[in-house]
């Protein structure tokens, strides 16, 4: 039965465990990014620290912490210091609404009900889009406050890129919203009950691909990493950052990648559900973890394969291809749902 005290205790446990797990995942995501960067080029990647170099990210963090924290004298200091956190915090918040197991039902833990979600939030999808948009402020403000031409250009590019891709993202997500009849991610996963052919990736394949492509742009990853295009802009918005402030942006990028992978798998790949009903003996969090890892691998594969698009190509993909396609997808979905019911 639902007991307010037990619920509070569970909530605190979940709220502490979730960021810890995500930070650990980030550490290994960074390690695997470097390892796979080597593998995709026929090299071996980091090998020194720990078995197969697996502790590389922890070595990176110690190095970053021990480095000097340089703040340009003519920068806007308050904004300069604040920007990494603006990029970093919103990424975590989205994790609160992502279900990683069954929600509601009978008691399952010591006679109490343990819900596998931090908050069954009614407008979870809107929260995801909003936090994604706030995260961009971190990049734009970092670019603005650095008082550096390269930084400013990087920040402006990030802003322009986000406007063009956020729209397509919102429209493609709306298709799922219509199918589930809810913006609550718990309800969306419930709507995908059954085996993998019941998931939304088959009826919403266009929307899913659009969301995936737009999320690469949202994550500032190659081929859409215009904001920190090394060859043109040194490091874009990161140019003036050093030490752990730079590391915060780096962490935010990977937290974002995990969160977006979780969102994509929740919306289109059945969230915590097993591909076959009988495989549900393996608990939900593990299935979600597997799906997140799979999507992260695809992100890395794409990053180390495709070169960066030109700025005008990026804009024309966003406005001329993804946006019309996502609107068409939404319209068709709406018509089909209103006709079929």
């Amino acid at each position: 039965m639902s007991d307010p005290v037990a619920e509070l205790v569970f909530l605190i446990i979940k709220a502490i465990l979730m960021p810890v797990i995500i930070i650990l995942m980030v550490a290994f995501a960074i390690y695997f990014e470097r390892k796979f960067a080597g593998f995709f080029a026929g090299r071996v990647g980091p090998t020194y620290l720990g078995p197969w170099g697996s502790l590389q990210s922890f070595g990176d963090v110690f190095k970053l912490i021990s480095k000097e924290d340089v703040i340009p004298s003519r920068s806007d200091k308050l904004v300069f210091k604040l920007a990494p956190y603006i990029a970093f915090v919103p990424a975590f918040l989205v994790m609160a609404v992502i279900p990683f197991g069954s929600v509601g039902g009978e008691a399952n833990l010591f006679g109490y009900r343990f819900d596998y979600v931090i908050s069954s939030f009614d407008t979870g999808l809107v929260l995801f889009l909003a936090m994604g948009a706030i995260g961009v402020y971190g990049v734009v403000l970092a670019g603005w406050s650095s008082n550096n031409n390269y930084s400013l250009l990087g920040g402006l590019r990030a802003g322009a890129q986000m406007i063009s891709y956020e729209l397509a993202m919102g429209f493609s997500v709306a298709g799922v919203m219509l199918m589930a009849g809810s913006m609550n991610l718990v309800d969306i996963v419930d709507g995908q009950a059954g085996a993998f052919w019941d998931w939304y990736w088959i009826p919403q394949i266009v929307g899913g691909v659009i969301l995936f492509v737009a999320s690469i742009a949202e994550l500032n990853r190659t081929p859409f990493d215009l904001a920190e295009a090394e060859q043109e802009l040194v490091a874009g918005h990161l140019t003036e950052y050093s030490g752990m402030r730079w590391g915060m942006f780096y962490l935010a990028e990977y937290v974002n990648m995990i969160v977006v992978s979780a969102i994509v798998s929740t919306l289109y790949l059945g969230g915590w559900r097993a591909p076959f009903e009988s495989w549900n003996v393996i608990p939900g969090p593990i299935w979600l973890f597997i799906k997140i890892c799979f999507l992260i691998f695809i992100y890395m594969w794409i990053r180390w394969t495709i070169i960066r698009y030109r700025y005008n190509q990026l804009m024309s993909i966003g406005w001329k291809v993804l946006l019309p396609l996502s609107i068409a997808n939404l319209v068709v979905t709406a018509i089909v749902i209103s006709v079929v019911g």
Binding site: F36, G38, R43, W304, I306
Partner: protein, 185 residues
């Protein structure tokens, strides 16, 4: 843009093709040689640090102090002081070589009529002490353990021809990978 192009772009054909290339590299044997842990075997004519070979019969250097190497050396890093041995043979009393000026061109080895000065396969010469770069006769003679067995008979190792002699005279273990063999592609 024709219909074929649109279909190709919509199905990410080119991107998937690129990904299949990188995916192939993901699974094949890696080409990396993890240098301090594993080393490539040097080529037989590799020009590493110099050595003065000794004559297995007399135990003295083969060098006759003809000054040809000191003369041809483009960076003039070789200083030889010749002297007469009791049996009337010419030999170097001092043979100094300044590695910090040497360009490892190998001309001294080419010009030597006695095959006395040779370039070896030893290349890890980094040091914290600059004086280590000034090789005197003693150090040069000691370096002959690194000499290429394929090219020169090494004294003190049965003429360097037998297997036992080889392993005895190979201090840094020539068990490294042969260049080009690591990339099993």
């Amino acid at each position: 843009m024709g219909l074929v192009d649109i279909v190709k772009k919509g199905a990410f054909v080119d991107i998937l093709r690129g990904m299949s290339v990188t995916g192939t590299y993901f699974v094949v044997d890696k080409v990396t040689v993890e240098y301090p842990k594993e080393k490539l075997q040097t080529y037989p004519r590799f020009r590493g640090v110099h050595a003065l070979l000794t004559d297995p019969d007399t135990g003295d250097t083969k060098c006759v102090a003809c000054m040809l190497c000191a003369t041809i050396c483009p960076s003039q890093c070789i200083k030889i002081v010749g002297e007469q041995t009791p049996d009337g043979r010419s030999h170097p009393a001092g043979f100094d070589l300044d590695l910090s000026r040497c360009v490892f061109c190998g001309l001294c080895e080419e010009v030597c009529p006695e095959a006395a000065i040779v370039m070896t396969r030893h290349y890890e010469l980094a040091t914290l002490d600059k004086n280590d770069f000034y090789l005197d006769k003693q150090k040069l003679v000691a370096n002959q353990v690194y000499a290429h067995k394929e090219l020169y008979a090494i004294p003190g190792a049965d003429g360097g021809a037998t297997d036992a002699g080889r392993s005895a005279a190979e201090p840094d273990g020539a068990a490294g990978r042969v260049p080009g063999q690591g990339a099993a592609r």
